[in-house]
């Protein structure tokens, strides 16, 4: 099986309402989707979400990196067998992108597309590569930034649809009032987490966490900016709230450093951020081996492609505490697959059992929603 062509789609799918946190506000999806084709005409789809403040990639550099560095090194070559994920990950060469921490969104998009293609070619589901350990996946809801009144409104919506786990975006002057109001709106039966997206100083983190800890906080995500892991380790000692790392955890080397410094209670593993399924599995395994909990995270505005991959990962990991994503048309004006990947009541969603990633991507929607489309062949 040889890859003979690829298409890159830089998407711009509007959100039904803006999503904001301390680092940015988003009004549309800006994912890059990769479609690969093999010599038998089988197609596979993958997706990455470039984030300048996470991996250092932008849509433009991701497109450039895929076209110039990654695609030429896999085009025309025989892919490893469909059932061998580590082989596929090794097949994809290590690359570097100037100015970026790691070109992980690009790598993830191509890895997923190749895996989807390889599995579709032989009509096998993802379960043949990643055997699921559970029959359904339970997602968390997210309360985005904005006024406290808006946060409460979102929290009520989460309660109305029965979400059992909710994350609140923090990193503002009114954090304590915000978390208190959201907890009141959700009631005591819902697990509550915070996500500061690195917006706090050490002192601010300690102050807020001390104030809200009595409300029952399951974890705080990325309280401090990505930086020395010792700062996170110190914070972990200074607060009763478990610390989850996100922006601080991009590479396997990051995972090792965080473990060595005892700087995290949870790893937030996101496929796009971590460079694909194989590396996400490896990072999650490193954490689980030393008792660090795992959250399977998502990218705001991801389409059904990354959501499907995330669901397979969440279903396959030996231990997973929280799962995010699969908002589908709750957030996007239109998703790209025939099947809906959106979670249902209580955040629950079934496994995807079709060939490859388990969804059928509608290419016409990608083309219609793309601001840039690039065709790549074996000639580059």
């Amino acid at each position: 099986m040889r890859l003979v062509g690829a298409t890159l789609y830089a998407l711009r799918i509007p959100f039904v309402e803006a999503f904001s946190h301390s680092a940015t506000e988003r009004r549309w999806s800006d994912s890059v989707v990769v479609r690969v084709r093999d010599d038998a005409g089988t197609e596979g789809f993958g997706e990455g979400a470039p984030r300048p403040y996470v991996t250092g990639e932008t849509v433009e550099t991701m497109l450039e990196h895929l076209g110039r560095d990654l695609w030429p090194r896999v085009a025309g070559r025989d892919l490893p067998p469909a059932g061998h994920l580590p082989g596929l990950a090794t097949f994809l060469p290590e690359t570097y992108l100037a100015g970026a921490l790691a070109p992980n969104a690009a790598r993830a998009a191509l890895e997923l597309a190749m895996l989807d293609c390889a599995l579709r070619r032989v009509g096998r589901p993802m379960a043949s590569v990643l055997p699921p350990r559970r029959t359904r996946v339970t997602y968390s809801g997210v309360v985005t930034a904005g006024s406290v009144e808006r946060a409460v409104q979102h929290a009520r919506r989460m309660r109305a649809i029965g979400m059992r786990h909710v994350k609140v975006k923090v990193g503002f002057d009114d954090d304590v009032a915000r978390v208190t109001a959201v907890r009141e709106a959700l009631g005591p039966g819902v697990t509550l987490r915070l996500d500061a997206n690195g917006a706090w100083t050490f002192e601010r983190a300690v102050a807020v966490l001390d104030a809200v800890a009595p409300l029952g906080i399951a974890a705080v995500e990325q309280p401090l900016p990505r930086g020395p892991v010792d700062d996170l380790a110190r914070l972990r000692q200074a607060t009763p709230v478990p610390v989850m790392v996100d922006e601080s955890l991009v590479t396997e080397a990051d995972a090792d450093a965080l473990i060595e410094a005892k700087a995290a209670d949870f790893f937030n593993v996101r496929i796009s951020k971590c460079g694909g399924l194989a590396r996400s599995l490896a990072i999650a395994a490193r954490g689980s081996a030393v008792g660090v909990g795992v959250q399977v995270g998502s990218q705001v505005g991801e389409t059904a492609i990354l959501s499907a991959a995330g669901r397979h990962l969440a279903a396959a990991l030996p231990e997973v505490t929280f799962v995010e994503g699969s908002f589908g048309t709750l957030l996007l004006a239109e998703d790209v697959s025939v099947e809906s990947v959106r979670f249902g009541h209580r955040g629950e969603a079934p496994l995807l059992t079709g060939p490859g990633l388990g969804i059928r991507v509608v290419e016409e929607r990608l083309r219609r929603r793309a601001i840039t489309v690039r065709e790549l062949s074996t000639e580059g």
Binding site: P14, F15, A160, E339, S340, F343, G344, H345
Partner: protein, 228 residues
Amino acid sequence: METKTVRALFERQVEAFTGSPEFAALEAGCGDYDAFIENVARAHLKSPQLVAFLYALAPPAAARDLLGNLLEELGLEAESERPHPALLEDLLRAAGLGHRLVEVEARAADDVRRIVTEPLLYSALREVGLAALTEIVAFEFMLSRVSGRMARALATHRGLAAPALEWFTHHSEVDVRHAEQGLADLGAYAAYYEFTDDEALTIVEMTLRENVFTRRYFRDATAAGTPR
């Protein structure tokens, strides 16, 4: 749940819809009229089925109104009436889009299929019914105020004659009554199924968290976050 609160939400939605760049383009003669006509047809071709679903869930106080709506959708309320889907088919044909009818029908059917197969967000039919009723009444509310403007835009800039625009003119006349009935029915529904005000309002707000009119009529709009 207070009617005035829901009415205010509907009014904000209508205001945002008519204030959108896409609606302005429609009235200014630079809209994508074919896409708009197809989207309107796609949004409403299956209305009889959706109203029938709501009739099945209707509390006693709202059942008569919803039955009336259903008969009207089916063209059975008066002898001279035609089924509303037939009016939409007329619109497509008159606009020279008859060849698109099969595709539009298929997309409308697929929209229903998606609703039915997607995991339910709510725990019971009472919540699903409230969300569906909210959207139907919101459209009646909007059409009673705006369908005349849409018909004028299509007549002026797309050259469609009055018979082709009957779906719009019918709704501008009839939906004033429907919209008022609908607001009362929403209240009756919430009361009969024992929603607290907060519960009902949360579901109404969630249904209207995006502009439902823009979403259905201007599907390919590129601007997000239209103010409501």
